[in-house]
Symmetry: C2
Subunit: 201 residues, 2 copies
């Protein structure tokens, strides 16, 4: 293999490979050998790019966590009525999920066995608390239907949104009954409409 | 140990133990020894009650599948406008989940490695198709909001409802941030209201 044909790896492409292997085999079940094989790199080349398997996990999890937290700092998330901020956050959360699907899938499956996983779980809880706070505030404003408990609404919203990682794929050919494919913009519209206005006409 | 103090096992209590062990360790990771230990029975007593580990799995899965399919045959599921039949099925599905939580949890986690698991996956798909059919029919009647794709609505409904096995517990003391506890009737009301009318007042 010559220098020109040798695959050049940057951290981005390495992360894309790692996140696929972690999700398929589980983080605990993945060895540096597995990552080397999947990326077509030798173990020593791999260590040229990263210090450890856990560093790779942390970087992969950051790809999901950072854009989610960026959403919570957007003007639409911090200005205006709580119900409108909540809608903004749900809309943008679905956009982030569609854009970062493999990374969010990994984030939703971590167990907490390592420092990186415990960090990710704490970030998830903090994001959940942010959304729960918006739901409670909107309920306090009288903008949520009376008979809906804010804690339950928050859980059901996350249940609905997080299920995307199982059944939604943004593009590519139809893949049978397993996945529903649709443009992210259409998906976002459907989730927001169902969550805020319900399915009944 | 005398005959009177020896624990008497019927299939019901054995199933309750088995479903907990299967869910915790995974079906593949559970041995007859594990089941004997968890149930406090000898392996030979265990074989007195059941023929095989897979038979126990099948019986446990039936505890979730049978009441779900019973719902699809109820008058409320087969008579009237599709949107009302859909509401009936969602309401009753949530009731079954709350009532059979450990069994439905197992049902949602099977992989399809054995005959019993493949049977369960096919039952899940058939139930999903039944609900998807109701959503499409309700959309055809003009009773679903125009901009909602029936396939996506079906996925989001299941995402919302199936998330219950993760965060909902019907009774007992509060268990921190992990679970939300509430009477089944209140849960059912919240799910139906959110799904059909949305959270916005």
């Amino acid at each position: 293999m010559t220098v020109t044909t040798r695959r050049r790896y940057d951290v981005d492409s390495l992360l894309a490979v790692a996140v696929a292997v972690f999700t398929e085999r589980g983080y605990d079940g993945t060895s540096m050998e597995d990552l080397a094989r999947a990326s077509g790199l030798s173990k020593s080349s791999l260590y040229h790019h990263i210090d450890s398997k856990e560093q790779l996990l942390r970087l992969a999890l950051e790809r999901a966590v950072e854009p989610l937290f960026a959403v919570t700092r957007e003007p639409g998330a911090v200005q205006g009525r709580a119900i409108d901020r909540l809608e903004h956050v749900v809309r943008r959360e679905v956009e982030v999920l569609a854009d970062r699907l493999p990374y969010v899938t990994l984030l939703l499956r971590v167990h907490g066995n390592t420092e990186a996983e415990r960090w990710a779980l704490e970030q998830r809880r903090e994001f959940d608390r942010f959304v729960a706070g918006l739901v409670r505030e909107a309920a306090g404003d009288g903008d949520v239907q009376d008979d809906l408990d804010p804690a339950v609404v928050t859980r059901l919203l996350f249940g609905m949104i997080n299920s995307l990682v199982v059944w939604y794929r943004p593009d590519g050919p139809p893949s049978g009954a397993r996945h529903t494919r649709m443009a992210p913009a259409d998906l976002v519209g459907s989730v927001v409409r169902l969550a805020f206005d319900g399915l009944r006409r």
